[in-house]
Subunit: 476 residues, 2 copies
């Protein structure tokens, strides 16, 4: 096995095992890294927002195996600057308008750093945030429910699905497992909708009704399943779908699920954060009727990945399905039931201390400023929308609800290659947007929300779009 496997004799190994947590060395290297990242943020606009390298470039540049001897932090930082940064798509760039934002902040970042050291605090933070969203007491620890920070929406939905499944099977008997049906719209979170599963119904939505899942369509679909001997078990409603930020009407949907004794989960991954503003709170009206509610603080809430906030009305339903109780995990505190034993609220046993960063974000910025940050993004998106509307070669495809605008080059303008515009725009490296296809229409999505984005970046983005289309028309 070559040099990786030298002959080893006990007691004979080198004693060069310096203290891996030496405080002074930690201090020295820590300060270097803070400066390195501060410089990175300072120079952000100098980098092309979209990675300009070939997918396999890095494998060519890095050694094929780990070094046998230690390397100094200086060399490593040099390599990051030289090899890693050129390969990055800069999600924190002010010119980043793709997917959904991943709005970082100093507090979110430093909270992440701090959290690497400690672990408490989660239920206080989740109650704070639940209050900010105007969630009813039945979802808070100060009421009868509670919240937990999951890694991602996929994990949150998986946990609630398992709880819903077991709750329903307790009623109808475990032998009916194969009959349970899960519902959502055809705009539902892709990892749920993407499951190859004969018992998932992706109910059709339409542009004419802004891609909302209607209670009527849900009821019709459920009726057909019930007639076929199946058992409706779970609905995933979405506040701010990924394609077009559509909002499913929770109140009317919950009336249908109530009739059938189903679990209803609200996935507000993107748009949940906006609901801390009173003027957007109406989007989650009816939340008091649902079983669980999640939103991603790592999307549009100034907190680094991963930080998906999940509240449930009946924590017992979760823990019944997810609890682990091996002997070596027992201790006085968790036995006493005085503590929230979060390992029973999630798929995994180990967990990171994610609440620190969220707590730091809430405290460092305060509720009112957080609302204003979100409002400033909405305002920039409105500005972009007005620019699109003022140019008759373009159209806004669906009404804008939050800080994302879905637009397209009108087919009369650009007869072929509807996606040519986005490709050319992104290839420049100046700005980065993504696209979607709804009702066969190729739509460009500009998601405003990168923390560094200002008016000037949005205006420049629009200019780049206009120039690109102008250039394409000239070459036809």
């Amino acid at each position: 096995m070559g040099s990786l496997y030298p002959h080893y004799e006990e007691e004979n190994y080198s004693s060069n095992t310096a203290n891996l947590l030496n405080p002074e060395e930690f201090r020295r290297q820590g300060h270097m890294i803070i400066d390195f990242i501060a410089d990175y943020y300072q120079n952000m606009e100098k980098y092309p927002v979209l990675s300009q390298v070939q997918p396999d470039y890095l494998a060519q540049l890095l050694p094929k195996s780990a070094p046998n001897i230690p390397e100094p932090i200086e060399t490593i930082l040099h390599d990051i600057q030289q090899y890693i940064i050129p390969g990055i798509t800069h999600w924190q760039s002010p010119n980043y308008f793709a997917y959904f934002p991943s709005s970082g902040s100093i507090a979110g970042f430093l909270g992440e750093v701090l959290s690497t050291g400690f672990n408490v605090l989660e239920f206080v933070t989740m109650d704070w945030l639940g209050q900010m969203l105007g969630l009813p007491q039945s979802f808070l620890f100060s009421g009868t429910g509670g919240g937990v920070i999951q890694g991602t929406t996929c994990e949150a939905i998986l946990c609630t699905l398992v709880a819903a499944r077991d709750q329903m099977l307790a009623k109808v008997g475990r032998e009916n497992m194969g009959k349970l049906v899960i519902y959502g719209s055809d705009q539902t979170h892709s990892k749920v909708a993407g499951l190859e599963c004969k018992n998932f119904r992706a109910i059709k939505t339409m542009r004419s009704t802004a891609f909302q899942l209607s209670a009527e369509s849900l009821r019709t679909t459920i009726r057909l399943d019930v007639e076929a001997g199946l058992i409706p078990a779970f609905l995933c409603a979405t506040i701010g779908t990924t394609s077009t930020t559509a909002v499913d009407p929770i109140r009317s949907l919950s009336e249908v699920t109530k009739e059938y004794g189903m679990w209803i989960h609200v996935d507000a991954a993107y748009a949940g954060s906006a609901c801390i503003c009173p003027e957007y709170r109406h989007f989650i009206d009816g939340a008091e009727n649902v079983n669980s509610f999640s939103f991603n603080a790592h999307k549009w809430f100034f907190t680094t990945l991963d930080c998906c906030c999940l509240w449930v009305k009946d924590p017992g339903a979760l823990t019944k399905s997810l609890s682990a109780s091996a002997e070596f995990l027992k201790n006085n505190a968790s036995d006493s039931k005085q503590v929230v034993d979060y390992k029973d609220w999630q798929i995994t046993l180990s967990r990171r201390f994610r609440s620190m960063k969220l707590w730091l974000v809430l405290r460092s910025y305060g509720v009112e400023n957080l609302r204003n940050f979100l409002r400033s993004h909405v305002k920039m998106a409105k500005r972009f929308q007005q620019l699109v509307e003022s140019d008759n070669r373009f159209e806004v495809v669906v009404p804008r609800n939050f800080a994302m605008v879905c637009f397209r080059v009108l087919p009369t303008t650009l007869k072929k290659e509807p996606n040519g515009c986005k490709k050319t725009v992104n290839a420049s490296g100046k700005i980065f947007m993504t696209h979607t296809i709804v009702e066969g229409i190729y739509v460009i999505r500009i998601a405003v929300g990168a923390t560094l984005t200002e008016d000037k970046h949005v205006i420049k983005a629009w200019k780049v779009v206009q120039e690109t289309v102008g250039g394409m028309l000239a070459t036809i």
Copy 2:
């Protein structure tokens, strides 16, 4: 809704929305936090290792809702020092011997910090690490397999379970879902074994054979299931079980699973790291015959949570079951199949950039030093074992394989309250150990591996144990 919901009029909101990623402010606050954490490590030994507060103390100390206006970093750090730190069980303390270690390091910590900024590099790092473990080429990207960093072992096992299930159902037909059976020993990872699932077999192991799962027991159990019309689908073998660090014999187990066309996963969560040392590599002999292999770098490999390394021989089996392909996720790079699209290798869609910290650990310390760090922990555990063996009031319950010693006060010494010793030891706050129960025997586990632990801490731990038992005998 009180002061959280003041009247809002658009355009009227405060413009106090300072740049949340202002580089100079980032630099100032970042340096403060590095110093704060360096001080914490410097003072580590001054804190009682086990939290000395009541479970709900924090809720009493913190405000009931998030602040409306920003708070300075100075106030927040003051509160962390004042309120949070006293409630913490200090996993990085040199007196921490409970559960398994969570051995941090400067490189692991700073890698975590750096990774908050960027995202590439994972497959290079996973190939490096796979080589260090002597995994066959069939598990590496440079061969025909590949590795992915999951959050935790639970996620890794869940992913491989889903892949194994779908692979088997493709052969036997989806209607046979209810017939699939999963196997492990009664020492298997608690979140798997803890599933209330009629199709999981926790095969009995015994102290007399060091709690290893024998190929013979596996074969007998499988035969009974096959005779009952069931379908064996998945075996989880463990290298270093949580209770006693038992090692299942991969080679002979894999011969059984091969006969039945089953998936075999190796969970080396704790002990995998030791296998980078040539003298421990034999514990995973037979790895070339398994389908997947995982180990937790956040356990005993100087890397912060979460960082579970999973390798698979057939990445296609994973991605077939876990891929998501919504339109808005498509891009040229992933369509070209030139990149490893990790979202299809895991349950979740979003993912953190976990490879940076692992890469930094590998580079900053180098393979040879990493081996020596692990060896130094084993050596300290050996030392503790000798101390136990030299006192006839105690016994070592199972042979020590790695850096954990399972011991007990002999029943002849302490007739009642077998767990009294551990409780009294931990209550002092001086050291922290956990316990397990195997074959009805109450066993104290001392897991050496906290990065800051030195000989003197182990010797002190033994003195505390001796004094505690001495004190208990005196009071009888």
